[in-house]
Point group: D2
């Protein structure tokens, strides 16, 4: 019989590198009553930046306020940015969709299977097509009217996100460009899936571009949306081999499997607190 | 005991699509004394183009001139471009290199292992570093002097290629841009390896570009060199996942394995007559 | 604009190898009014067996009975086994399930997306858990009572399959061993997914076996069920890398993605008439 | 400009899990003058075992004997097994070969490229075929006479290994079964490559077994040799897809690429101190 101990907390830390950081961090955890189950650490030597993620379980003596006070002293000493996430409070993630269902289904099925530690309180769409899928999974579905203009449209979306106290937004093949105001407001909290292996095939119809270029691989890229279309920090990518006997329609079909896989993996990395951002790129800790 | 019958000839055909082509082709082969062992056929419906590759063995009655005369009649009727390759005459391939050895070694070792049906009569370089490798494999090595200017330099290279009656040129990490005159003269007979998953990361230092962009995959692309740098028809591509904990130096190291694999595979496809070119892209038949 | 011509028929042929077969086959197709769009041919030289699959479209002069009569003459001459499949008549496939949903969802979603050219008229289960999924996709669901004994149980299943005029059965993680009578009756028409890279990890709990053996890859295998458990002819396989930091529960989760992919791919190959069986193994034509 | 700081030491630790271990370890490193660049930690909860690998650089105050004395106190307190490896002293690895060159070349070329932090002081063979390769790379080559019987033969091998002060042995397609005496003496210091995805296809001629079973993937496994043939703890594995049109000879050729990749990767993991062994399996830390 294999006993599974699940961590109670995840701590993430970023700071300028120097000696003694891990010792200070782990000592504080141990004194507070925590037992580390997994620790990943890396120093990005090109920018002298220390990155750490630690999962730990706690005993009955652990008191979160006491730990946070103690840790803040360490943090001040080392100029840390840090976050402590408990495993009970789940992030509230909104899914934005258009007409295509494969990415939406992937997220909902993986969630149903217990693989995504978040809640999906609401689905927002600019088309009515996927309302039935939302209903199947008992999730409120809102179709927002695009015709009223981007500004009013995004105000409506924003209101829904606020009403449902949303932390993070996933664009699951949401075919609508977000305004700079929106992406700035939700900086590093909007995950998009692009159906090309960026930076190749930015913009519209990447599979058409790929087919005409005669590439032998197609791919997909999950990234944070920012104000520059398809240029935000990349979170996850993958590719598959394609044959020249494939039509564009077959590229589109085969690509769906890569898209859903990459988007799921990106959200999982994000929810597992593996994604660090600096200098226009991400850094994924194992 | 498994008996291997090896094909004696490979026939490749391209023509406008219409009914009855395969019947005419295969009937001619059968009447001439050939037995088809593998046949791949595809119709590129977007341009109404028929593509065929057939490997066949022959009996003692087969006479090549008779077959070619008979086949020319079929070819004329269907407006075919066609080529008949026997398996005894091996293409003569020159390898051009600079300082890096991994692609050169891959080609020479795979050749030594019987996996590349060609001859490597000569290695040409713009640096002396790899002369010892050529010597190990008993292949003449010429270092051509770059200092004398591109025009004179390429005249020297051209002379060597002619002296050794070269059919095809492989650029095995040859860090020198070829002139339009040279690539036109050797159109669809120069195979280059680029260390990026084209069309991403064209030009110099693709691994540096990739690292700074924060991509999660790196790759390589083998393509025909043409007068537009890194834009010729693609023959083979592949990618691998990389971790953000990798340095640029590690990208370069890990990339070597993809480069050598993709270049080898591209040359193998070319030698096996699988590569058809039309409209700026290739079409690889299985 | 890219025009897609879809084939109207697929012809499959197996016979002892000799000269002139392809010519005879393709000539008959051309004379009958067919235009071949894709042709795959291979000779399994170890058993001197010729295999062919041809997809062709037809013009208005094509008459199926005339073609079949003409082709039967060719078939007799070459001792062929052959089948002609039109693209309108779709195979009727029953899905058998237990409690796990990922393979079932994969088949239903891919079907909904137009990627599986068959019908799913019925779902049969030995547990009630997946009834709601069947309802979502408007497919009749039957839970058969296992308690009544294998013989009666299988008689019930057989009756359902007959009532729904089923051609082919897919076991989508159906955790019930079929009797030799059943597998013989449905020989080469029952496709099963096993959650191990066979022939490793036959039998129960393959992920547990894999974890304890300390393997670095896990995989899945789709195969025809026959009377020897997990030993029928293999149709499709794949593997993924796993880390030693993974628990058995994570093996199970990660394995689901491989299982659904391999089962979908196996059914697709089967429906596309790519799967030939001989000598205890399959031969998949491209 | 990216500055690379290379670690000076790697510390590995195994012990029963309890609170405070990482704090104690990292505190000792910091006090001793070390700066941790990468730290991987995992707790194998099924056996309550703590595993840690830390790479650190040191300042001018670091004194190895002082550090070792200080660390031994920590080690005693937590019942640790531990090792401290400096990056200057390189393991001395002997390569044992028979007739096939691809694995040998891979190790020598990767070593030449700076990717394997070890020395290859000697190559031992039971056939003369690869002597020329050893000469190319200026490595002493010994052919030991198999005819004299396994016991005398292995005594000769052992003497060579001692003469060259060998730490670790790599069997690079060495087609000779080692005696239990030999494998026990060199326990967890002999790395073998098997050309099958173990535990499938143990024993002789795995590619023949695979072809006749009709599998759709082939693979390779690097493992520690122990007294049970092909059953030692696995270090690295990989597979590739194969087509049914491939002959056994093509399986053998395609398999070579997997074998050399897996053997190289296994040795790299071993030299990077990532490989922990317990309970008949390995545990690879990232």
């Amino acid at each position: 019989m294999i006993r599974m101990i699940r961590p109670d907390f995840t701590l993430t830390v970023t700071c300028p590198d120097q000696k003694g950081i891990i010792a200070a961090v782990t000592q504080t955890i141990a004194v507070g009553g925590g037992n580390i189950l997994n620790l990943s650490q890396h120093t990005a030597v090109d920018i002298n930046t220390f990155l750490l993620k630690a999962d730990f379980s706690v005993d009955e003596h652990f008191q979160r306020p006491d730990f946070e006070a103690a840790f803040q002293e360490v943090a001040t000493r080392f100029q840390m940015e840090w976050q402590l996430h408990d495993k009970v409070t789940k992030p509230r993630v909104a899914i934005l969709v258009s007409k295509t269902s494969h990415c939406l289904y992937e997220l909902l099925l993986k969630h149903q299977d217990g693989e995504l530690p978040c809640e999906f309180p609401v689905i927002v769409a600019n088309h009515p097509d996927l309302a039935a899928v939302a209903t199947q999974f008992h999730i409120p579905f809102f179709q927002v009217d695009v015709a009223k203009g981007k500004s009013d449209y995004e105000a409506d979306v924003q209101k829904i996100l606020e009403d449902y106290r949303i932390d993070t937004v996933v664009l699951a093949r949401y075919m609508q460009i977000l305004s700079p105001e929106f992406t700035r407001r939700w900086a590093f909290r909007v995950i998009n899936i692009h159906h090309g292996f960026l930076p190749a095939f930015m913009g519209a119809k990447p599979y058409h571009q790929a087919w005409h270029r005669g590439v032998k691989i197609i791919g997909a890229t999950a990234h944070f949306a920012n104000e520059n279309l398809d240029q935000g920090p990349i979170i996850c990518q993958d590719t598959i081999q394609v044959a020249d006997t494939c039509s564009i329609a077959e590229f589109v079909q085969m690509g769906k499997d890569v898209e859903r896989k990459v988007l799921f993996e990106a959200l999982k990395r994000f929810l597992n607190r593996q994604v660090f951002v600096y200098g226009g790129r991400t850094f994924i800790l194992p």
